[in-house]
Symmetry: C2
């Protein structure tokens, strides 16, 4: 096949590629990372590059204006090389580090009435063995095992070949006094399961020497990691970082699509492992801990994140009938997963329920306490998947409503993630319709993040700039409401006020995407409530998980019809319940068993096969809803 | 440190090495393998090389004659480089392939009254699963597991991450009909242990499709492998090859010494794995089987061989109080061991008893049937370690008597292994004292192997060439009995008759080594018999294992006092009982449990700490014994 030269003007790098190669692949070979928030589907327009010499064959120019196309812009993920070309890569949205996430913690007190030390599955024991002699030639392993069994008061201790290889030097290095690290995973159905010797080290330890573990939540956007002392429950460092997979798709569907192309799955696995391993390094540095002293990891994340981490196929998650490879993973070892902690450390991936209700939700339910509460509770994770759980200590129903990435800035022209430069809250003057806003990092704005979009949409609605159908009031005397090539739009910030010099606007298309997202979430609540015959108004508390949740203005979310119209005091923001659940499961075997119970007892309702969902969704495609009687407080505010 | 050039004249290869490097290391870097039967201890003299330019510092010249030293010969394992040198490597003893070992077998009928299929731990099941649907979104693993549990009639099925990764494509490649390979290892104490899913393949299999396993015996000298159809017990190929470790030490002690230098252990592990993997390849080629279709391996070998295979430290086996790392190994996977069969295949290393009574002996006892016999039985493996077991179905005692390598040609000037060119049987004329001999391969002789040495020594004794103290009768009128620089010796073959043109002789030193070896073995019997209060004469059958055993002439071995003086019909040669035991354990879980029982019930007697052994040994340092009343048939023959 013919070879062509692709030159990247920015870095003056040239690569040889055969006819038919995508520009994204050519860039990757040249070591240039192009953002592909939609996973390379040609839908988001973020990988646009300019062809300055030669031509490419472009499969799609969606999201590019005629001017862009005229100037040689193409979507790199849709542009096929057919001759020598020179490419100019414009500056792309950078993955900026969160502003205020990493924390070194002296000691986070565990929840009250909670004594994690007693329920730890990991044990560390010092053993003083009788040395062998000509009268006692017992093999090293039997000698150690018998002593361990005696001390643990149980038989059946398993050992791997790797640990057997350590025995001889460890036993003889310290005059037959050794420290054993044993995992006794009988938190679940398996009471007869053997305990597992993870490590043997020369010498003794003091009872108060720390024993380390990590709780990890793999979010689609952010990975959070807590470094935990396992005997006291103290959290010694909390670190977070964007999931490096983000440049290969912003939502799980885009990631799955990317993972199913070529070596995509291997790349995705490496990216999330790199993210976690860097966080391990950072947390260890902060707390002055050796990473190889970490013997246990509890991991949560949605089912797609978990599958990508473990190198499991993901395509069946995306395609009907939406099935995972596995919801209940066996205990794994750090070295088979690829985590840079102690190579034999136990990796406990918490159980998921379905393709779109994963371990992050079961852990969230645990951490929220709703499964132990008498109150009728609605638990939700406002994000791409809109996972929702309704229930009490007696019953739990759950669904995921595919809200799409609108609330994370996807599918919205000037949408962006909640980083520096994002408008996070908007107020619109009720007479002048002039906006004022708050920007993350107090800099000139670059776009609008999820909470900003909710805020903006609610303000536009309440002030009458848009009607309940989401249409702009085109009769307003306001220069900010104008017609553009994309239809009617509202200018949130003029080019003179922004970081990039372009106007920041909210178009009719953006509004449609946002309304569909909120309608999907609300329809999810409706179906859950209907399925158990409990009216939504009977909900006694609404618990909102996910780090995104805490930035939402409840009043405005109710105005939109995103959240049900309940008294404000019924709402509670719990932050990252997923990592909290992982933390609890890491410390306490009874809580680990509880997550298992929660996962098994949750009734999953598949919305895509449910006609009630489509009806509820259609009714919710208005602001706040077709049926105004469901939102009395909004009716009052409008009046 | 200063670097010097070592040039190997034969291959014109030169390497740069720092001051202090051994010539053996320099040779290795140049890719030249030098035989080191003693493990590089400077004791065997087989690594002699000639320094033709420059000089080296020689730590020892043991086994080199003054003439050799004058001609620049040095022991490569004892010669330290201190300047530029040119080295000539003389032709070395080649590891020749056995003459008649490999066999392709149409079908070896299993032992009578034996139905191995019923007791196989490995099961292969075809499962037809109901495909998932929107009404049944069960994850792949649960779907498969429930179906497997139903078919197996048991719960608790374990799966590895590696197999989970195969599920999605396997299930969808063949319309949800798959074949599962399951190991249910409940042959032992662990009745509650979970079954283990080893593999999942798309499509169905017929009930009579073959299921493959291998039985492997890792001998210090020879590795034997049988390719077995697991459902019928048919042996489809039998192959054997020298253990490639042999160039790094002929006996276990030399191997341990070599393994404890630098990367010796890694090298040893690679050498034995190479040997086994080549045998796997050969057996599979013969039987037209894919190596990845082999799902189970049963492995036997002495404790040192097992430790070297698994990368376990060996030095504690060699040093008092002679302790192994582990006698009872857990079930391992082929990929963690390094066997090139199915990567998740079960590797079952049979249990050993002590440092010098390994799995080869427990397997041998199983195969010999002695543990199920009412007869008082003596089971022995005549080899370097001289492992001996005495017992009945009610009791078993065992010992190892460190006979040394004399019977394998070690420590004897013209000793060699039983390969082409070895004198394997000798007859000495009772009047002329002229010998006649039989040579393996019917070629000119190069040396004498174990059976030849036993034969020669017995003949020399019976004809009066040597007396009961092993001294030459210096008054004989026979040119073959002569005095040399090494003392008195007997010329077995004149230089004109030999392959190399040198005389083949048996010196006084050789005789001492042989007598010490036979005395050690006989003393072992004596101590075992004494320890249970059963006179040696009460032994009802003598079972001789090991491939070496079958070449021994019983009459001559009794004449020497190597074997007890019992009726010939009481002796039976069983061949390689170790691989036979592995074969039985591979097929039948009840027999696998039996080996475990045998290993646990054997009482091991440590001879090196036993005064009775030294007394018995000293008494046996005569031909046939100090106490002639123990050898009535020999007294008769001499008379």
């Amino acid at each position: 096949m013919a070879e062509h030269t692709v030159t990247f003007a920015n870095t003056q790098q040239a690569v040889q590629v055969p006819t038919g190669t995508l520009l994204t692949e050519a860039a990757q070979r040249a070591g240039i990372t192009l953002n592909q928030p939609c996973g390379g589907q040609g839908r988001c327009g973020r990988c646009a590059v300019q062809v300055t010499q030669g031509t490419v064959r472009s499969r799609s120019t969606l999201r590019l204006s005629p001017e862009d196309v005229a100037q040689g812009f193409v979507l790199a993920c849709q542009a096929v090389v057919e001759g020598d070309v020179v490419i100019d890569v414009p500056p792309q949205e950078k993955i900026e580090r969160r502003l205020t996430t990493d924390r070194t913690v002296a000691a986070v007190v565990p929840p009250p009435n909670y004594n994690p030390a007693i329920h730890q599955t990991l044990q560390r024991l010092t053993l003083q063995l009788k040395p062998p002699s000509m009268d006692d030639q017992t093999d090293d392993w039997s000698r150690l095992k018998w002593s361990l069994e005696k001390k643990l008061g149980r038989g059946q201790i398993e050992v791997s070949l790797a640990v057997l290889r350590q025995l001889d030097p460890a036993l003889r290095a310290s005059d037959w006094t050794v420290t054993a690290v044993v995992e006794d995973p009988s938190w679940d159905f398996c009471n007869d399961c053997p305990a597992h010797l993870l490590d043997i080290r020369p010498g003794a330890v003091a009872d108060n020497d720390p024993l380390w573990g990590i709780a990890v939540d793999i979010g689609t956007t952010t990975v959070s990691l807590w470094l935990v002392e396992l005997l006291s429950g103290e959290v010694r460092a909390q670190v977070a970082e964007y999931n490096r997979q983000i440049t290969r798709g912003e939502d799980v569907i885009s990631r799955i699509i990317y993972a199913n192309k070529g070596d995509g799955a291997t790349e995705m696995q490496a990216l999330v492992l790199d993210t976690i391993n860097e966080l391990v390094e950072r947390a260890c540095k902060r707390a002055r801990v050796q990473a190889t002293d970490i013997y246990k990891a509890a991991i949560t994340g949605n089912s797609t994140m978990m599958h990508l981490l473990l190198g499991l196929p993901t395509n069946s998650i995306r395609l009907a009938p939406f099935v995972t490879t596995v919801n209940n993973l066996p205990l794994l070892r750090a070295n088979e997963v690829g985590l840079h902690i102690h190579p034999h450390a136990t990796v406990d991936c918490l159980p998921g329920v379905a393709s779109y209700v994963g371990a992050d939700i079961t852990a969230g339910v645990l951490a929220s306490g709703m499964a132990d509460s008498d109150k009728i509770t609605l638990f939700l994770d406002v994000g791409t998947n809109g996972e929702t759980v309704m229930g009490t200590s007696d019953w739990l129903v759950t669904c995921a409503c595919s809200a799409g990435p609108a609330f994370e800035g996807g599918g919205v022209g000037d949408g962006m993630r909640a980083t520096r430069g994002a408008i996070e809250e908007v107020w619109v003057h009720s007479e002048t319709y002039e906006p004022s806003w708050r920007v993350i990092g107090k800099v000139k704005p670059k776009g609008i993040c999820g909470s900003g979009l909710i805020s903006l949409l609610a303000e536009l609605f309440i002030t009458g700039v848009i009607d309940k159908g989401g249409h702009y009031n085109t009769h307003l005397q306001c220069p900010r409401v104008r017609q553009s090539e994309h239809g009617w739009e509202y200018v949130v910030a003029w080019g003179s006020e922004t970081a990039h010099g372009h106007d920041i606007t909210l178009t009719r298309v953006d509004i449609d995407n946002l309304v569909r997202a909120k309608a999907a979430i609300y329809a999810g609540f409706t179906v859950l409530a209907e399925s158990v015959g409990v009216p939504l108004e009977a909900v006694e508390q609404v618990l909102i998980g996910g780090s995104f949740g805490k930035y939402i203005n409840v009043e405005k979310a109710v105005h939109l019809g995103l959240l049900p119209d309940l008294p404000w005091e019924n709402f509670q923001f719990l932050g990252n319940t997923s990592v909290k659940g992982a933390y609890l499961a890491l410390l306490d075997r009874t809580l680990r068993a509880r997550v298992q119970d929660i996962a098994s007892s949750m009734t999953y309702i598949e919305l895509s096969a449910d006609n009630r969902f489509y009806e509820a969704f259609t009714s919710a495609l208005f602001l706040p809803h077709t049926d105004m009687s469901k939102f009395p407080s909004v009716a009052k505010a409008l009046a």
